[in-house]
Each structure stands twice: as C-alpha cells, then as structure tokens.
Symmetry: C2
Subunit: 348 residues, 2 copies
C-alpha cells in the first residue's frame, strides 16, 4: 500500500500520472449516496460502520478515484468533548455555544478509541472493502475551524464570537485551541492505528484572519497537531502522510509550508503555480479546481483540468477540487474531470 | 473641497496624516443609528433623504471620520432593473432570481435620475449638512457582486447558481454583466453630478473565483464601469477619485491595479505591505484592519493600527476596516481606532 500512486505523490516521488480524489466525494451529488441517505439520517450514516463503509466506497467504484476518504464529519468529536451538536439539513448547530472561561474549562479531552469506537470500526470495514485498491484518508477539523463552530454555535458569515474570543480574550482562546489540538491529534492518531493510510486536517475557516493572526491561531495549532502526530508512537511505527488544508490560503503563502505537513491543500481562488513559487519544493500540493467549475461543459472542464495540471507540474501534485464538491453537481461532470486528469497527466 | 485630506490621499499626494473612514460607518453598531432605525425600516431610511442624511452625518459628528459615505444599499438599484428585492433582518432576498436568458433579456437599463431621485436628493442634503467639513463618497455594487445577488436570490455560501451561469452559460453571464455595468456606471455618474466627491465600487463577492475567472468576470466589468465613468461628460468636468474594493483580493494582486481605479480597497486577510509590493506605486490603498479586531482592547487596537500604518507607509494610504464594521462593535472601540490613526500617523 505504501507504493500506491496517491501516497507516492504525497511524498513527492516520481509518478506515472497525477492522482485524483475529491473533497466530499461521498456525498449528495451522487444518486447512490442519496439512496442510502433516504434510509438513514446524516448522523446515523456517520455512526453506522456498515453504512459509512458503503458510502465511502461508492465514489471509488463509480469514478475510480485514487484515494478514498472516511465518510464522517469534523463535528462528530464534539459530543465526547461535552458539546452537543445537531445536524439539521440547513447545517450543523451547537445549541449551547462555548464562549466563557468556565465553559472552556469544561471542554473535555477524550480518548477517541473509547468515545468514538464506531469511527475506528468504520475504518477497519472500509479497509477490508477496499482490499488494497486505494489508500484510505482519515481526517479531523483543525483547531481554529473547530473553535469557530464551537464558539459561533454553527456556521457564520462574519465570525463575531470567534473574533471576540481571539482578540478580546486571547488567553481563553489559546486554552480552548490547546484542548482541541490535543483531541484532534489523538483522534487522528487513533484513525491511523485503525488503518488510515493518510490523514487530512481541514482548516475550512483558517482563512478568516489576518496573516499575523494566521500565525498566532490556525497555523500555530495545526503545527501543534502535526508535531503531536509526528512524535507519537503510532507515527514512529507507521508515518503516514499528513495533509493540511486551509480554505482561502492565498494570503498566507509565506507561512503555509511551515505547518510541517507533507501536503498542502490549495483552494481554487489562487493559482497553484503561485502557491508552488511561494511555498517552495519541500511539500506536495493538493488542488485546485473550483467546485463550481464542474457546472461547465465537459469540454470546458477538460480545458480547466489541463490548465491546473500545467501550472502544478508533474511532481508532488494531487489533483482535487479547491473545496468540497457541490451537491448540485452532475456526476457525469465529475467523471469528465477524473478522465481528463488521468488522460492528460499520463507520462509517456 | 478638492484639497481635503481624504481626496489628496486618494491622489497619492503628500498629506499631514493618514485619513480614516470606515465601511458601514453609518450602521447598527451606533446607538444614534439604532434610534433612527427604531422609527423606520431599512428601506425607508434609504428612500427618505432627510433620514438618510441624518444617519450619514452621525458618524462624522460622533467620531470625526475624514470622509462620509451615502447611507444606502447596493441593492436599491434592483427595482429599477425590474427585479424585486426585500430587506428582512436576516439579509436581502430577491424573490424571483434571474437565471435564464429570457430573464436576463428582461433586465432593464434605467435612468438613475428618473428612477432613483431620492438618492440624488439625499446626496444634495448630505452635502448641505456637511457644509464642506469632509467629502462625500457615493457608491454602487460592482457588476459581479450584483450578479451574485440577482442570480442566487440573496446571499450565498457556495454561489452554485452564479457558477452555473458563469461557467455553464458564459454568454448569458456576459450579457447580464454588461447590462449591470452600464447601470452601475450611469448610477455612479448621477451621484457625482448630484455632488458626490468620490465613488466606491463594492465587489464584496469579487473574491469567489479563480484568478483567471477574476480577470474574465469581476475585474473585466469593474474596468468597464471605470472606463465608462472616466469617459463620461460628468467626469470630464469633475474627475472624482474612484475606489475599487474586492473583498478577498489576495489571490488577484498581479491584476488588481489594472482595474483603472485611483484607490484599491484591501480586506484584512492580506498584509497591506504585500499588496503595495504587488500592485506598485500607481494607486492609493485603502484598508485594512480586521473588523473583528475592534473586539480587542483599545490598547490592542492601537497596536494593530500602528502595525498597519507602518506597513502602508505615509503616501497613498486611506485607513479603513477590511470590510464593514460589525453590528456588535463597541462604539468606544471605534473611537480608539480613529484616535490611534490620527495620532500615530501625524507627520511632525
């Protein structure tokens, strides 16, 4: 498995073509996924290893992606932290947001194998189902992104409570981020022990701050997670690649590579060639087609794929969307993207 | 009035200190504004020149900002374009979004002096009220930003309908953007005729696309608006400065200066020194404190103001927030920011 195309690209080794997977590839754009979802709630899917396995494998079977990613949600770690969360269709809600020193003191550091056994069981079943075809990516929300949900009580447009905490009560913010970072590292480590071949740290809202605050908050705690992972017993035995993805990374390119990750995720708003120039050659890059570009015609999708492949070069590139695939996407356009990447990146 | 500090800074002339104003400075964070809003709806405020004048002047009287900005909303141009809009507290809604060639063909090009006379009347009353104290900025939504509202039917997280139109039906997208650009230019020209001393083009959602699509859509039509303005009779007689603001400009810095604007707005996610390096010395820059930084202590606000002043330098800088002030902001913290800018930027 360590010789799989995707894992070799993560290590910047020479590859016969550019591998591709897609954030949220097991999701609502896929009729087979919607059929399973018609029978079970989102949370039931996350908590039922057999169902999680079924939907994780669907896009591999359907499109031939080069990596699978555990079907789950970054917020499933909230209940074991002592924080309730619900998943209505309009987006996750945390009925009692954490906004005070007292509430932060009550946030729990937990044992993922005890508290989230169904995740580890799903990983084992997925690995069995994959039978070595492609690697399995485990994941977690990065500390700053987790903080925004916990503090805002859900999604947000302007993140006022987050910013009140970060800038108005920085000691509290650091205390909360430190706890989340420990939980995040322990959770990812447990996923690797269970069989994950790679882990991705999602900083979906790492891009809401100034460059100085990026160093002080999202980057600092992503680094902490990555250092905890690298120094763990699990990684000393099985050092899988670590991907760090910041949505809206363009303002932070001078610092991004210092995260310590093997692979940096690149959203679609920035040229992947500019990212390469600014982060240097020490890391692989993953990205970066606009998820909305899948609304274009298959011919236009192919043109855009070719442009990204040309900008990214042949070494250390994993093709992906710049963020999760949109639910309204036509699956045949996904297929056009996968075909274009495989054909256009093949080295003769 | 052409010698006012703010206007001289827009032209990159030497100034005795850095001028400051604040996006959404007439707004909900201000108790005096909320008192007026308790008596009238948002739309009534926009449409009543006396009330619009009252709230426009409030922050000038209260904090001594160096420029005023017309109290209005970018979406008030929708009804004369034949598109209904409502303004509930949760954010604007367009009950019948424009998504087809037929609907785009029906969008009207209108005469702003006939259709929006209350805006021109408000400008005249504000100018009288200001009595030359500070300049008045007029504004409009930039074409791509207006398109997102019209097409999505309101705000959006992922802009799926916008991207379906831009990438799936580019001819329709260009037709709609061209109409909006003509309306936008005519509206800004009318505001200048009525007395506005400067105009700002708000591309709040210009930052949702790839660099190539930025050139093809938001930048292209902002340029068109700016060229229409510069070649207008009004501007040949009274060439006021033009500000172009893209929220999330960091990925586009190599192209941003080509907009043709005198001043480029800079959001808070990027270092204003990096922006200066990348856009060159031909334009002034406006920004770029994180609106959320006003939740910090007055001492921390002063530190952050000093940092931005140092990065921006003394020539061609207008201090502003990186986006609109948040409604939850403490007015005394706004005062701390204004005081810090005035004191720390004073040239001896």
């Amino acid at each position: 498995m360590s010789e799989h195309l995707f894992l070799r690209a993560c290590r910047r080794e020479t590859v016969e073509r550019t591998p591709i997977w897609m954030m949220r590839q097991a999701g609502r754009y896929l009729p087979a996924y919607r059929a399973v979802r018609a029978k079970a709630s989102f949370l039931e899917l996350c908590r039922n290893p057999a169902l999680a396995t079924e939907v994780t494998l669907q896009p591999i079977d359907e499109f031939g992606f080069d990596a699978s990613i555990l079907f789950s949600d970054i917020l499933i770690t909230l209940p074991p932290m002592g924080i309730d969360v619900i998943f209505p269709d309009a987006g996750p809600k945390i009925p009692t947001p954490v906004r005070t020193s007292e509430a932060i003191a009550d946030v729990k550091v937990f044992d993922p194998e005890l508290e989230l056994p169904y995740v580890m069981e799903a990983i084992k079943q997925i690995k069995t189902g994959l039978a070595g075809r492609v690697p399995l990516i485990g994941f977690a929300g990065a500390p700053l992104t987790m903080l925004t949900y916990i503090v805002e009580g859900g999604g947000s447009k302007d993140y006022p409570h987050t910013k009140k905490l970060l800038y108005g009560a920085p000691k509290d913010a650091h205390a909360l981020l430190d706890k989340i970072a420990h939980n995040c590292a322990a959770f990812l480590e447990a996923q690797v022990r269970a069989g994950a071949d790679c882990v991705q740290l999602f900083d979906s809202w790492g891009g809401i701050v100034s460059p100085g605050d990026f160093r002080e908050y999202p980057l600092r705690y992503a680094k902490q997670v990555i250092q905890l992972l690298r120094s763990s017993k699990t990684f000393s035995e099985r050092p899988v690649p670590i991907i760090y993805f910041v949505n809206g990374c363009a303002p932070y390119l001078d610092d991004y590579a210092s995260s310590g990750a093997d692979v940096l995720g690149v959203d679609w708003r920035v040229g992947i060639d500019e990212v390469r120039r600014r982060v240097g050659d020490g890391v692989a890059l993953q990205g970066n087609l606009d998820p909305g570009a899948l609304f274009a015609s298959p011919a236009e999708i192919r043109t855009r794929v070719a442009d990204i492949l040309a900008r990214a070069g042949t070494r250390g590139h994993i093709f992906n969307l710049g963020h999760g695939v949109l639910p309204e996407t036509n699956p045949e356009h996904v297929r056009a993207m996968v075909t274009a990447v495989k054909e256009l990146s093949a080295r003769s």
